[in-house]
């Protein structure tokens, strides 16, 4: 049997070089720690740490000199594979891929012995940077990862800097200089590279997981705290003045069916749309929608002109063919006062359905009101009056409802948020024989004076009701407004408890709040630009941009423009980088002029000749100028090697007046 060949690690893989690489990888991996199970990062740290500790000599490394450890290492690699595969429901999608990559990187750091492997790890590090963007594409993350790329590049520079001439700071500064040189070319490529419209192959199922927003179901009472956050849902730019905040109802999913606990979409909702008659002012606006992985778009009630590529449904939702997984920008028009009177018996029947065996007390109350009222509108008023006069409270942290959610809310707890009120109101209406349904979406928004747009956040999510009033058609009724008018008129901030505003509780000072608000506005404006110009830059915007410059935006033109423009810029970068870098030392320049003058008289300075030798030889050859020749070389040596400024001036003068 052949003894195992001992293959010691290349001497080029020093502790310093590996430590740089591991530090860069750590910086790059860190944001994944928020999303990956903690053991993934731990495994990486342990494996990389093992390699680093191996340098101290206290810990044996799993190389050919320690066969059992080498075997352990291979078993570990296999184990990582199996655990990730089983831990991710036997699929290797986005999350599993990243887990594997991180841990196998750790393993590679541990076992690398050749310079080639060092480079392989570095290349995988560059690759790992890109994986973050499948999760998040914020400006902050991009800046952070630029730092990671710089660190990784600096570790490559450190690897090449064989004699360690550059200190750590010098490496980082050279890395950032390289990246700064690369920046113009990168920007040009970003805008001109022909963008494809669709994916090249199918994406893993979890590719767009984790996008938040409204869902198509609503279960008031089952959740005790609304998942409120400050994430933007969409931003709106109005062409012309914006409507009053209380008019800003952004329509989303419409829920017409209830099983007593959960509300969901009705079956008649997807029928052909009814005619809409608009009255009064018409608003035109452009919405930049954050991806929510759903098919609906949000528009102001009620739409009159739809965004391109979308369609309207019977219950006035705006749908696009595919879920929105990229930030989407669209323009729509709406009338705030509009009438939908088109009667559809199936739709009305569905809007009267009550879940069997639920809400007996509510139904009884509603029937009682119906008996005492003349017209449906009276019942509506009666119900709103009920919410207003009885001790109902608007709260974002209502108690859980154990039994019949509507009855318990209406008669016992009387605490809830928009979903509770909308659901209870709709049930009351149906019980009174008035067709009604729940509409969800967003209400209000916050005006950003700096960017000149309205930002609607997830915490602006809202639910309200619509009732069918015969000749007046579908009419919006917002029962929450009866309980908490501030919520509708002045926005959710007025009713939110303090912590949700993201402000330390000491900050009651109005001026400080003003400043903070200003700061938030600036930050959001920057983000909005980022979204529109960086993240929202796609095939369509590229086409628009090309058309603006007068190009026919077809693929051939795009490709040609890309090749020509990037080559030209690369050429300019080359010219700039290869330009004469340093001006010769002024003392040297003067001395060279002196030598040239002598050379014209045949006294040429030899390459190997120092200034003193040359002066001696020249003085012999031109004895009449001997004095000035010796003086000039003295001055030159003082100016050049002693850094004497006065000698430099004298030298320049002496050379000027020197006649060989």
């Amino acid at each position: 049997m052949k003894p195992p060949r001992a293959s010691p690690s290349s001497p080029a893989l020093t502790l310093e070089r590996i430590a740089w690489l591991v530090a860069a990888l750590l910086v790059i991996i860190l944001p994944h720690a928020l999303r990956q199970p903690p053991w993934v990062i731990t495994v990486f740290l342990a494996l990389a740490g093992w390699r680093i500790l191996g340098f101290t000599g206290r810990l044996p490394l799993p190389d050919a000199q320690h066969p059992p450890l080498a075997l352990l290492k291979q078993a570990l690699g296999l184990l990582i594979f199996v655990v990730v595969y089983l831990g991710n429901d036997r699929t290797l999608g986005r999350d599993a891929g990243v887990s594997l990559l991180i841990m196998l990187l750790g393993l590679k750091v541990l076992e690398m012995q050749r310079v080639r492997e060092y480079y392989l790890v570095a290349m995988l590090g560059y690759f790992l940077v890109i994986t973050h963007f499948f999760y998040s594409q914020t400006l902050l993350l991009a800046c952070y990862l630029l730092g990671g790329v710089m660190l990784l590049t600096a570790s490559l520079i450190g690897f090449q800097d064989a004699r360690r001439a550059l200190p750590a700071l010098g490496r980082l500064s050279l890395a950032s200089r390289l990246m700064a040189n690369a920046l113009p070319l990168m920007v040009l490529m970003f805008f001109l590279f022909p963008r494809a419209a669709g994916p090249l192959w199918s994406l893993p199922k979890d590719a767009h997981a984790g996008l938040s927003g409204l869902s198509e179901e609503m279960s008031p009472g089952l959740i005790s705290q609304l998942g409120l956050n400050d994430n933007p849902a969409f931003r709106v730019e109005f062409k012309g003045p914006a409507p009053a905040p209380s008019e800003l109802y952004w329509r989303g999913p419409v829920l017409a069916r209830s099983n007593g606990q959960t509300w969901s979409r009705g079956v008649t909702g997807d029928l052909a749309p009814p005619p809409i008659q608009g009255h009064g002012a018409r608003y035109e606006y452009t919405i930049t929608l954050e991806p929510h992985n759903q098919r609906w778009l949000f528009v102001l009630e009620q739409p009159s002109a739809l965004p391109a590529g979308s369609r309207l449904t019977r219950d006035l939702r705006v749908l696009v063919p595919n879920p929105v997984v990229q930030r989407l920008r669209y323009t729509a028009q709406s009338y705030l006062r509009s009438v939908v009177t088109d009667f559809n018996p199936r739709e009305i029947a569905e809007a009267l359905e009550l879940p069997r065996g639920f809400h007996p007390r509510a139904i009884e109350l509603a029937r009682q009101w119906r008996g005492q009222s003349q017209a449906p509108i009276d019942v509506v008023r009666r119900a709103l009056e009920y919410f207003r006069s009885e001790p109902f409270y608007y709260t974002l942290t209502p108690p859980l409802l154990q039994g019949d959610s509507v009855d318990e809310f209406l008669f016992d707890t009387r605490r809830g948020f928009c979903e509770h009120y909308a659901a209870a109101f709709t049930i009351l209406m149906r019980a009174a024989g008035i067709p009604a349904r729940v509409v969800t979406g967003y209400q209000g928004g916050e005006y950003n004076a700096i960017g000149g747009y309205l930002i609607v956040r997830q915490r602006d999510a809202h639910a309200w009701s619509e009732v069918w009033l015969g000749d007046r058609g579908w009419v919006r009724v917002d029962p929450t407004a009866a309980v908490a008018p501030n919520r509708i008129e002045r926005g959710i901030d007025q009713v939110l408890p303090e912590p949700i505003l993201d402000m330390p509780f000491e900050l009651h000072n109005v001026a400080v709040r003003q400043v903070l608000k200003q700061f938030h506005d600036v930050w959001d404006t920057v983000n909005n630009r980022w979204n529109q110009w960086v993240l929202g830059y796609n095939a369509r915007r590229q086409t628009e941009l090309m058309s603006q410059f007068g190009f026919e935006p077809n693929l051939g033109n795009l490709a040609l423009t890309f090749v020509i423009a990037t080559s030209a810029l690369a050429f300019c970068t080359a010219l700039w980088l290869l330009r004469r870098q340093t001006r010769p030392d002024p003392a040297r320049a003067a001395y060279d002029r002196f030598c040239a003058k002598l050379a014209r008289r045949g006294v040429r300075r030899a390459r190997h000749e120092g200034p003193q030798d040359y002066a001696r030889r020249a003085a012999v050859a031109r004895p009449r100028q001997a004095g000035s020749i010796l003086r000039i070389s003295d001055l030159y040596m003082q100016a050049r090697y002693a850094g004497d400024q006065r000698a430099l001036r004298n030298l320049q003068q002496a050379v000027r007046s020197f006649r060989a």
Binding site: S10, P11, A12, R114, V115, R116, Y119, L120, M123, L124, Y126, F127, I130, F133, F134, Q137, L141, A142, L146, V149, T153, L156, I157, F159, Q160, D161, R163, A165, L166, L174, L178, M179, N181, A182, L183, P184, M186, M189, F190, F193, R195, A197, P199, L200, L203, A207, V534, L535, G536, Y537, A570, T573, A574, L577, L578, Q581, T582, P584, R588, H608
Partner: protein, 329 residues
């Protein structure tokens, strides 16, 4: 176009690599650059992330892919710049004996240039080939500060006596990122004289017939003071008239009369016992060193060349040189 053709003609592995004249300044036309294995790995990574960005239509994915691509271009330019404009600033090498290592000292002239890092010089191998990353990392390299000159040493082993020219020198660098290798060649006008290897089993031939046995243990050639003469390069410091020097009368050497009797003439025929010429020359070389060390006055007689007896460093060099170049043009 010509530059491009030139470039391909000098690609490693190309038959046309022994180009006629390589200038001693690395101008743009004579610096070649190509992605090495790490650079090709980088290109592969670039392709993968570009496909990913296209497939997921991921804006930041695109952004960073293009950052990497631009960084690739910039790395190429920086590597190229690390070499372009460097000049050969002269060099030298002291004579050595065959079997030793000749250490050429070359001066890299970077006046007016940017700082250059990790520039490696080595004698160009006869057969062109790529160095692996590990071999590359093991090469000694120098940093050349901006607007300055730096000396670098190139070692080649000298197997045979005679003139040993420093043929082609390959200058190359991978700095800063190691993704590209830029290289060029110099053919510096440098050669080193290689003396025969001092070796041989034979004893130093006896001194001339008139050798006086009475001299016994006394230092030969130092017995009777016979006056002064001017100092010549190679004279033994023991014979310098230090007192005269102290009186500022110049550098003189004391002459002694006794040396004449201890003369030994080394002839090629004395080593005729040895089978071939090279071994005889080696033997003569060893004798020269022995005679010099013993302080004898020695001369050399080779067919077509004879050096009268003498001693001192200069005389020794003269003899060794004659041995090194014996029978060579």
């Amino acid at each position: 176009m010509r530059a491009l053709a030139d470039f391909w003609a000098r690609m490693p592995g190309s038959p046309a690599t022994d180009a006629a004249v390589e200038p001693l300044t690395l101008d743009r036309r004579h610096v070649y650059i190509f992605p090495n294995r790490a650079g090709r790995l980088y290109a592969l990574m670039l392709g993968v992330v570009l496909l990913g960005a296209i497939n997921y239509n991921n804006s930041l994915g695109y952004g960073f892919t293009f950052l990497y691509a631009s960084l690739y271009v910039v790395a190429l330019l920086h590597t190229y710049r690390n070499l372009v404009g460097l000049r050969y600033g002269g060099g030298r090498c002291a004579p050595i004996f065959a079997g030793d290592i000749a250490s050429f000292s070359l001066s890299l002239d970077n006046r007016g240039g940017p700082p250059r890092y990790a520039v490696a010089l080595k004698p160009a191998p006869d057969a062109q080939r790529w160095y692996t990353e590990d071999e590359q990392a093991a090469l000694t390299s120098v940093d050349v500060p901006a607007d300055d000159t730096t000396a670098v040493r190139i070692d080649i082993s000298a197997a045979r006596r005679g003139w040993l020219p420093l043929n082609r020198v390959e200058i190359q660098t991978r700095f800063p990122l190691g993704l590209f290798t830029a290289w060029s060649y110099w053919r510096p006008p440098l050669r080193v004289l290689v003396y025969p290897r001092p070796a041989g089993p034979l004893a130093l031939p006896a001194s001339g017939a008139e050798s006086d046995s009475e001299e016994g243990g006394r230092q030969p050639g130092t017995d009777d003071f016979a006056g002064f003469r001017d100092y010549r390069l190679g004279d033994s410091p023991r014979h310098i008239a230090w007192k005269a020097l102290a009186r500022e009368q110049g550098l003189h050497v004391k002459r002694f009369a006794g040396g004449r009797t201890d003369e030994v003439i080394l002839r090629l025929a004395d080593a005729a016992l040895l089978p071939d010429l090279e071994q005889r020359l080696s033997q003569l070389c060893k004798w020269v060193l022995m005679a010099e060390a013993a302080g004898l006055s020695y001369g050399l007689e080779l067919p077509g060349k004879s050096i009268p007896a003498g001693q001192g460093t200069a005389h020794r060099e003269q003899c060794l040189r004659a041995l090194a170049l014996f029978g060579q043009p």
